[in-house]
C-alpha cells in the first residue's frame, strides 16, 4: 500500500478489503426504503450503496461540479450546492435521514449546518475525523507542527478543514444545539468499531473517526 499514490485518501485505499468502512456504517444506520439526503455526496458512492443495499430514495448535494456531473450521468439525483448556504431551501422534515459524511469540519458554520440537518431530516447522520486521536495529539505535542495524518493529509494552509473537532467537542455541540445522540460509533485506524463498553475519553483517544446518529 505504501507504494500507491499518496494523494488517494487512505479510506479509499483501504477499500480493497472493506470499502469506506464509515460509509458502510452509515448505510447500516439508515432504515431501508427511507428518503435520504446526502450532503457532500462526492462521486455518489454512498448514494449507490444506499440505493442498492437499502433501496432508499436518495438525493445528493455536492460542491464540486465534477462530482455532480459524474453523479447525474450515473442517474443519481444530485445538485451542485453548498451545505453552508443551500440547506435553507429545503422544507422541514423533508427527509427521513440527512447525512453529512466527513464534511462538517469543512463547513463555515458547523452549528448552523447541524441545526439545518435536524430541521430538514427526522434524523441526521454525521461522520467526521476525530482531532482528539492520540496520534494527532502526539504530533502536535512532540512535533510542534499542525498534525498531518492519514485522515488529515493537508497542510494547515491548504486544508479545507477549517473547523476540526474532537469527539468530546462534537458531543458538546450536540448538547448545545439540542440534538439527541441516538448512537455514536468510533472507528479505529483500521476502520473497526471500538467496543461499546469503552468510555468516552478512550473513544476520543483511540477513535480515528466517529459516526453519530442524531435526532431532535
Amino acid at each position: 500500500m505504501a507504494a500507491m499514490n499518496v494523494n488517494v485518501p487512505p479510506h479509499v485505499l483501504r477499500g480493497a478489503e472493506s470499502p469506506r468502512v464509515d460509509l458502510l456504517l452509515i448505510a447500516e444506520m439508515v432504515a431501508p426504503g427511507s428518503r435520504v439526503l446526502d450532503i457532500g455526496c462526492g462521486d455518489g458512492t454512498l448514494l449507490r450503496i444506499l440505493a442498492e443495499k437499502q433501496g432508499v430514495d436518495g438525493r445528493g448535494i455536492e460542491l464540486s461540479q465534477a462530482g455532480v456531473n459524474s453523479c447525474v450521468a450515473q442517474g443519481l439525483s444530485v445538485i451542485q450546492g453548498d451545505a453552508d448556504t443551500d440547506l435553507v431551501y429545503y422544507p422541514d422534515l423533508a427527509f427521513d435521514y440527512v447525512i453529512l459524511s466527513q464534511t462538517i469540519q469543512a463547513t463555515y458554520s458547523p452549528r448552523h449546518v447541524l441545526e439545518q440537518l435536524l430541521r430538514i431530516g427526522k434524523r441526521a447522520v454525521v461522520s467526521f475525523p476525530n482531532f482528539g486521536h492520540w496520534r494527532v495529539r502526539a504530533k502536535l505535542l512532540f512535533g510542534g507542527h499542525m498534525p498531518r495524518t492519514e485522515y488529515l493529509p493537508d497542510r494547515w494552509y491548504d486544508t479545507p478543514n477549517i473547523h476540526l473537532c474532537t469527539i468530546n467537542d462534537f458531543t458538546d455541540l450536540c448538547r448545545d444545539a439540542g440534538a439527541k445522540i441516538e448512537r455514536a460509533v468510533a472507528l479505529n485506524a483500521y476502520g473497526r468499531k471500538l467496543g461499546v463498553a469503552m468510555p468516552l475519553f478512550a473513544q476520543n483517544l483511540f477513535g480515528e473517526q466517529a459516526v453519530f446518529l442524531l435526532s431532535r
Partner: protein, 405 residues
C-alpha cells in the same frame, strides 16, 4: 466566410419560397384540429381551426411509455434530427437525437412539434385567417408559452399518448419544459429544462424589444401585412437576428473566434463596409435567418417568452408551481451563458427543493454561451444520456439488446 455579405434583398429568394411552402404544406406530419375543437388561449381568444406540424424519430412502444418530447427554442422548429427542408442542413439537435445518441431513438420515441405561432406548419401569423381568407398577420392573437404547451398536450391527446417519459428543451424550449411540469404534473415522468429561466428577465425583454422594433421599423413590414403586400421586412428581421445572435454567444467565444481580425483585407477602409470578421459573420447570420423565418412569428414568439413568468402564474411563489410534483427534474446551465445565467436555474432548483422534488442540477463549464445547448458539449451529452436512461429504468422500459448506457 470568404464573401462579405451585405444587407441587401437579392439573396435567398429561392429559400424564401421554400419557406413559404412550409407554412401551408409542411414536409412534416401534421394534425389539423377542426373549428369545432378550438384551442383556448391565455389572452382570452381561441384559435380555431388550428394545426400542429411535428416530426418523430424512433418507435412508440406498446405501453406508450417511451415518449421523449423535445421542445424547440425561439428560432428552432420541429426538424430536430432530420435534414431541414428549407436550408438543407442537419437538424438543430442532430448531435443529441438519433440511434445510439444521448436521446437514443433505438430506445425512445422522440417527438418534436413546431410551436403555435411558428412558421413551419403549425398555425401562426402567416397562416390563413379563416375569418378573412388572408394571412393573419397582426390579427393573430398574442400567444404564451402555456398556449404552446397546451397545443402540444392536445397533440398527444390526439395521438393517444397519455404521458411523457421525458420532456426536454433549451432556452424557450426549457420554458416549455417548466410549463409542462407545472401544468401537466401527472403527464410528465421526467423533465430537463436547459439554459432557461422561470421568468424572462428585464434585460432579456429589452433585447427582444430591440429586435421587434428593428422588424417594425422596416417599411416592408407594412404594419404586419407584408404577405398581403407581397413584401418582406428582411432588413429589419436580419438586424433583429444580428442583435440576438450576440446574446447567444459570449465575449470570450467572440474574441476567440474573431478577435479584431479583418475580413479579406489588410487594413481598415475608413468606411462602413464589413471591415471586421465579426461584422461579416453577423451579417451572414442575419441574412441566412430571414430565408428560413417569418418576421411576424419572430414578434409573436419573442412576446410569448417575455410574458413567461411561472411564479406570477402561481401566486408569486415559484415553488407553488411545482407543489406535489412527482416529476424527476434535471436542470442544466452553462457558465458563460449571460442570457440565462446559472443563477436563474439555481432559483428553479431552490423552488424544487422547497417542495422536496427529485432534482438534479448540472452547471457545465464552457465558453460557448447560451448556444452551448446546441453545440458539441460532451458533459451535456453524458448528463442527458444518464438522466433519461435512469428515468427509463425507473419506468421499467426495457433496454434494447446490446444497449450500453
Amino acid at each position: 466566410m470568404s464573401e462579405s455579405p451585405t444587407l441587401s434583398l437579392h439573396v435567398g429568394t429561392a429559400e424564401t419560397s421554400l419557406r413559404l411552402e412550409q407554412i401551408a404544406n409542411p414536409q412534416s406530419e401534421i394534425v389539423h384540429f377542426p373549428a369545432s375543437e378550438p384551442l383556448p388561449l391565455d389572452c382570452g381568444a381561441s384559435l380555431a381551426p388550428f394545426s400542429i406540424a411535428y416530426q418523430t424519430y424512433g418507435e412508440l412502444n406498446r405501453d406508450k411509455s417511451n415518449l421523449v418530447l423535445v421542445c424547440h427554442a425561439l428560432t428552432g422548429d420541429q426538424h430536430a434530427a432530420n435534414l431541414h427542408p428549407v436550408t438543407g442542413k442537419p437538424g438543430w439537435w442532430e448531435t443529441m437525437v438519433g440511434p445510439g445518441k444521448p436521446i437514443d431513438t433505438n430506445r425512445y420515441f422522440v417527438l418534436c412539434a413546431n410551436v403555435i405561432g411558428g412558421c413551419m406548419g403549425s398555425t401562426g401569423p402567416s397562416s390563413i385567417n379563416p375569418a378573412t381568407g388572408r394571412p393573419y398577420g397582426p390579427d393573430f392573437p398574442v400567444i404564451t408559452v402555456r398556449d404552446m404547451v397546451r397545443a402540444q398536450a392536445r397533440l398527444l391527446d390526439h395521438l393517444g399518448i397519455p404521458d411523457v417519459l421525458c420532456v426536454l428543451g433549451g432556452s424557450m424550449g426549457g420554458m416549455q419544459v417548466l410549463e409542462w411540469a407545472a401544468t401537466y404534473k401527472d403527464r410528465v415522468f421526467s423533465a430537463v429544462p436547459i439554459a432557461c429561466s422561470a421568468r424572462h428577465s428585464s434585460q432579456n425583454i429589452a433585447f427582444h424589444e430591440v429586435g421587434r422594433q428593428a422588424v417594425m421599423a422596416d417599411p416592408e413590414w407594412c404594419q404586419g401585412r407584408y404577405l398581403d403586400e407581397g413584401k418582406s421586412p428582411r432588413k429589419g428581421l436580419a438586424v433583429a437576428r444580428m442583435a440576438a445572435h450576440i446574446t447567444y454567444m459570449s465575449d470570450d467565444a467572440l474574441h476567440t473566434k474573431f478577435g479584431r481580425r479583418l475580413q479579406d483585407r489588410d487594413k481598415v477602409t475608413f468606411g462602413f463596409d464589413a471591415d471586421f470578421q465579426v461584422e461579416s459573420y453577423l451579417r451572414h447570420q442575419g441574412l441566412s435567418f430571414v430565408d428560413r423565418f417569418d418576421a411576424n412569428s419572430y414578434l409573436y414568439i419573442t412576446r410569448a417568452m417575455d410574458y413567461f413568468d411561472l411564479a406570477a402564474d402561481h401566486g408569486g411563489v415559484l415553488a407553488n408551481a411545482f407543489a406535489g410534483t412527482k416529476t424527476r427534474f434535471c436542470l442544466v446551465s452553462f457558465t458563460s451563458d449571460w442570457l440565462f445565467p446559472t443563477e436563474e436555474s439555481r432559483e428553479i432548483v431552490h423552488a424544487l427543493n422547497a417542495v422536496a422534488a427529485n432534482v438534479s442540477f448540472v452547471e457545465i463549464k464552457t465558453d460557448n454561451g447560451h448556444d452551448s445547448f446546441l453545440l458539441h458539449q460532451p458533459e451535456l451529452f453524458d448528463t442527458i444520456r444518464g438522466f433519461i436512461a435512469s428515468a427509463a429504468l425507473k419506468r421499467g422500459i426495457a433496454e434494447p439488446k446490446g444497449w450500453l448506457p
